[in-house]
């Protein structure tokens, strides 16, 4: 009953509905722009949430994520260019349907499959998150240290092919996190007498710099001309069609949940896995690749399920499993919210807003998805030079909003250069972001534990939760290392055989 009244209060006494709708709209528009991923779309709006009430800010970011996952399928279907990475699998049959003159139908299937996937993911999120976080009630500083290390071990699965580069990026992220005032003794570190650095470098600057500015810089000078037909209208699938798609949607839901829970899983892997499984279990597998409706439904259901399911490890333990959830974690930390049981106990309105806002966005997606299509088409068709100017101005305006500081703008530009160089040298971004985001928690919990034990490291072995996390983290790194070594040997073995 309390929950009902708190939900009713959120709907009537807070701007949750407009926030959810604005977030969804922004997400669809951003996701529809090729090259602007869901995480970039979220990073662009992140600075503007700084002055918002925490509950509304988190709901807005979650709704942007939901919208971006659908938005990515629009150019995937219409111009064979996925708006987001996770829409890559939708290109295969979505574009084929478009070539057959059935673009409206493909967009309708994508939209409704996205709604099905998001709703399933949301149910999983509501059912699993709080029970999982209960375990975290027994957490001590040692447990938080173990948890932070486990979060950092996620890096091992997100190294983009080189564990060493991923770990180096994480170390640099941790180095950035040490800038500012020391959490225990209060002395300043790496501030060089600059007052703006006393509070450290905010994770949001790192995210915007690495994701958004680096992408803009990479696109500079590219001459790809994209033209979408402006006459396209969405045709929602009939009940008979939805019945036909239920098997592939079910596969998308299951695999999407699994991948959302898996660190490093992400929407693209879920989408491709679902596409393959849907083909395997389809009554008409021969249609896949030639314009199969199931070939659109399965990946779209999966990547939208991931958008909600990926929040389960994030909200329960503070472990981000993808770029987008890392941005959301940045949003939580920016508002002084620490994921885990304390978030449920001390800030239930944040959780309620996130759930309810997501639900509103998912349902509204059907209407807004249809209405906003012409705007997406118009936006994608704008000349790239103007689009770049507007996005750059938006990024800089947003960063200034954080602290009314020109220094922040300079930091973000520097991080843009660092991101570009990292991209050139094939260093992954996410480990660095995880280092920045988790660095403070890992260091302060480690040192607090040692203060409690008088410097005795065996305190970590006395806490079964910490031991469990550390063992799991070690196992995760060993597994990733073994996989990388195996993958590195594969070509040599193949070479020897040939």
């Amino acid at each position: 009953m309390t929950t009902f009244w708190s939900m009713f209060h959120l709907l009537t006494a807070t701007p949750l509905i407009p926030v959810a709708l604005i977030g969804l709209t922004w997400g669809i528009l951003g996701g529809a722009l090729p090259g602007i991923s869901a995480s970039i779309t979220m990073a662009l709006v992140l600075p503007f949430t700084y002055t918002m009430e925490p509950a509304m800010a988190i709901a807005l970011l979650a709704c942007v994520y939901i919208g971006a996952e659908y938005g990515g399928s629009i150019p995937a279907i219409l111009i064979r260019t996925p708006g987001t990475n996770s829409a890559a699998a939708t290109v295969i049959d979505g574009y084929e349907l478009n070539r057959q003159g059935r673009a409206g139908e493909a967009l309708g299937i994508s939209l409704m499959s996205g709604v099905v996937g998001s709703l399933f993911g949301l149910v999983m999120l509501i059912m699993l998150t709080e029970p999982l976080s209960w375990g975290a009630r027994a957490f001590k500083p040692t447990s938080y240290f173990g948890l932070g290390i486990l979060g950092l071990s996620v890096i091992a699965s997100m190294t983009g092919g080189s564990l060493v580069k991923g770990l180096a990026a994480a170390v640099i992220g941790l180095m950035i996190a040490t800038v500012g005032t020391d959490p225990i003794s209060g002395v300043t570190r790496f501030t060089f007498g600059v007052p703006d650095l006393l509070n450290g470098i905010e994770p949001v600057l790192v995210m915007v710099g690495l994701f958004a500015l680096t992408e803009l810089m990479s696109q500079s000078g590219s001459s790809n001309v994209l033209r979408l037909k402006s006459s396209i209208r969405i045709r929602l699938p009939s009940l008979a069609m939805m019945n036909k798609l239920k098997r592939s949607q079910f596969i998308g839901c299951i695999l999407g949940t699994f991948e959302g829970l898996t660190p490093g899983g992400g929407g693209s892997i879920a989408a491709f896995m679902s596409y393959n499984e849907a083909r395997r279990w389809s009554k008409t597998p021969e249609k896949f690749g030639k314009g199969s409706e199931e070939g659109v439904a399965a990946p779209e259901t999966a990547n939208n399920t991931v958008a909600s399911a990926a929040l389960i490890p994030l909200l329960s333990f503070g472990i981000p499993s993808s770029n987008s959830t890392a941005v959301l974690l940045g949003g939580l930390l920016m508002h002084g919210l620490l994921p885990g049981p304390r978030l449920f106990e001390q800030n239930p309105q944040v959780i309620d807003s996130l759930y309810l806002g997501s639900f509103i966005a998912i349902i509204a997606q059907i209407g807004i998805g249809i209405v906003i299509l012409p705007a997406c088409v118009w936006l994608v068709n704008r000349p790239r030079p103007y689009r770049a100017g507007f996005i750059f101005a938006l990024i800089l305006s947003g960063i200034y909003t954080l602290n009314n500081s020109l220094f922040d703008l300079s930091i973000a530009l520097c991080l843009g250069i660092i991101g570009y160089l990292m991209r050139m040298a094939k260093f992954p971004f996410l480990p660095m972001i995880l280092g920045v985001v988790l660095g403070h928690m890992v260091e302060s919990s480690y040192r607090r534990s040692l203060v409690l034990s008088g410097g005795d490291h065996s305190i970590f072995l006395e806490d079964p939760i910490a031991v469990g996390f550390l063992l799991f983290a070690a196992g995760f790194v060993i597994f990733s290392l073994t996989r990388e070594l195996r993958d590195a040997r594969k070509p040599k073995i193949q070479e020897a055989h040939s």
């Binding site: 060493v164 770990l167 100017g389 507007f390 909003t401 570009y420």
Partner: protein, 164 residues
Amino acid sequence: MNKDIVSGLVLLVIAGLYHRASGAIADSTLADEVGAAGLPRLLTIALVGLAGILIVRAMLAQKPVAIPVRTKEASGDEVEDDARLPRALGFLLLGAAYIALLPFIGYIAGVALLIGAVALYEGAPRRWTVPIAAIGGALLYWAIFVKLLGVNQPVGSIFHGLFS
């Protein structure tokens, strides 16, 4: 030189600079066993180690002299990113100019100049549409952020009084 070797050397330079800067961390009477300089020391060692692995691995991989094969990956994004570096830095310079000018010309003029300059830099035809889009965009952003959302943006010393 192999890109991984260069990356490794850059990481060593970063580790060196970081180590040097960590020497300036003051001792505190409130310090715990690890101290404020504890983690920075550990991170320096870790980065040096990782840089070493990267360099050694790249050198070992270089040893067998083979005919260089340009993979599809190498001929795609990677090469494009390398070639576009000066262009990308030029793009960022426009941002730096915006930051430098903002306190003087203020938000509206700054954003208008930024949008116009980026559009021209990115190849927009030199027509009347550039200033129209630039001024229109600046006014739109000002209306949304300053007027609608109440976000403070610099007024600019030149235009002070006009928009405050």
